[in-house]
Amino acid sequence: MRFSLGFFIREALRAMRRNAAPSFAALATITVTLIVVGVFIPIVQATQGAANSVRSRVLVDVYMQQKATAADDARVERELRVLPHVARVVFESKRQALAQQRRQNPVAYEILGNINPLPDTFHIYPTNPSYVLGVRAAILHSSSGGMLDPSIEKVSNHTEDTQKLLTVTRFVMITAALLAALLIAASVLLIGNTIRLSLYARRREVEVMKLVGATDWFIRWPFVIEGVIVGAFGAVLAIVVLGITKLAVLDPLANNFTLIAAPRTIPFVPLLLVLVAAGVAVSALGSGISLRRFLRV
């Protein structure tokens, strides 16, 4: 037994030439689906990125008493660092805070003159935004009963805001995931259906092949290879369309609106690889699996 890959590829190409219409339908389906997927992936990621950047701003502020000394600050910072789920502690001295406020509101601080009403502040970033309330509680109710350190004046109280923010971002993520799942399911069904149609047109051919004693895989290989070729072609077409769109529409816009230049989306090249792999895999699997029905003679 000596089955060459060359034979199967020739068979696949012959089938595509002779059944141009169904092959074209499959090709068009894959192209359109991949274009939609190619647009959708960056959009989902941009949404996620936006949600994440909001989440990353969720933090706990600890305000020191006005009379706190540098030694107090150093001690509190050490204490804060060892709390569970704390990723980062950033210190902002009263002088830095004043300078910052002056820049934002020069007139108001002109009136104050040399008085600095602002306390030393610690900004605490939790390892995950959802720990923010836990961290806050740990500072307010330490094991010794009261506040973590007597020189802490108060801890920022954004409980309600934080909770809302967390709910909203979680909702955005779940919605995006659901949409992605729906889109993938729809694509697979659509491609599977198109392939089944083109196979239905050739069921007689399969029947004859079985009668002369062709094994299932001998019949199947050309169909799978055809699927690979159609899938690859569809992906290339989709990429060309996406590339043109990116160059002609997105890039000029991105220069004007920072929002569109979503910071954390997938780079273009990996996106292309994902699309090609998806196109080839879905189309080849679709052909191979759809054929099963016709192989039962």
Binding site: L211, V212, G213
Partner: protein
């Protein structure tokens, strides 16, 4: 029941095939066919001829009874082995079943490609069998460019190119005019003379009577007639054979 001889190619023993609707395709059919025999299977539509053919290529499974081909019990062949079994059985159908998007040459070559023959072997064997079937000039035509008789010849060439020990033909002349039918029968006879057992299903009584071969008649799934040996002990040439077919109809001799 006579003991099975070593030369038995087909053996049906008490074979019943009941279709889902309760209709009997075959009802306790028992018969056997020896090597190098040329046997006609006759009967009206629905008598079970096609059921016999489909059972023999294991497209159907019998409800009851055993079928042996060349001593091998078909029930013992697994689904995975079916393709390999079918390579030993040539099949010809009324509707030819050619691959429409392949040339005559490629249609015949396909039967060799599935068995993994090298291109060199295929190039050697396909023209041979096409010469035998008189298609040497039609190599590069597509099936839709051929007459019905020519298409049936391609289908026979494809069935015979592997030189299977058994050739089945289900109504091979059903779609053809009488003169073309004679040519096809003559071709089947020629193949039979190379040592291949041939089983032909037909409802053309006139033709079958003229051929004077062994006849198995089925009616409602039962074997009601098995007229055999003696009539054709004489080994005819294919020319004589065809001449007799063209001749006036004579009633079959009775022994």
């Amino acid at each position: 029941m006579p003991p099975m001889s070593r030369n038995t190619v087909i053996e049906f023993r008490g074979v019943t095939k009941k279709y889902g609707t309760g209709v009997y395709g075959l009802d306790q059919a028992t018969f056997s066919v020896d090597r190098e025999e040329f046997v006609f299977l006759i009967g009206s539509t629905g008598s079970g001829k096609s059921t016999v053919m489909r059972l023999l290529i294991k497209e159907l499974e019998p409800t009851e009874g055993t079928i042996r081909v060349a001593g091998r019990d078909l029930a013992a062949i697994t689904r995975r082995q079916i393709p390999f079994y079918r390579r030993n059985v040539g099949v010809v159908f009324q509707d030819f079943k050619l691959l429409p998007n392949r040339t005559v040459y490629d249609n015949v070559a396909y039967a060799l490609q599935v068995t993994g023959h090298s291109r060199r072997e295929i190039r050697a064997r396909v023209p041979d069998v096409l010469r035998l079937t008189g298609l040497s000039t039609k190599l590069h035509n597509y099936p839709d460019q051929l007459s019905g008789g020519e298409q049936q010849r391609v289908s026979i060439a494809r069935a015979f190119v592997n030189h299977p020990p058994l050739l089945l033909a289900d109504e091979p002349t059903g779609n053809l005019d009488p003169e073309t039918s004679i040519d096809i029968m003559r071709l089947l006879y020629r193949i039979n003379r190379t040592g291949t057992t041939v089983l032909v299903a037909s409802h053309d009584h006139v033709m079958v009577d003229k051929m004077r071969r062994r006849v198995l008649e089925l009616s409602r799934g039962r074997v009601i007639r098995d007229e055999a040996a003696g009539l054709y002990a004489r080994d005819e040439s294919t020319r004589e054979f065809a001449q007799r077919l063209r001749g006036p109809h004579e009633p079959p001799q009775t022994l």
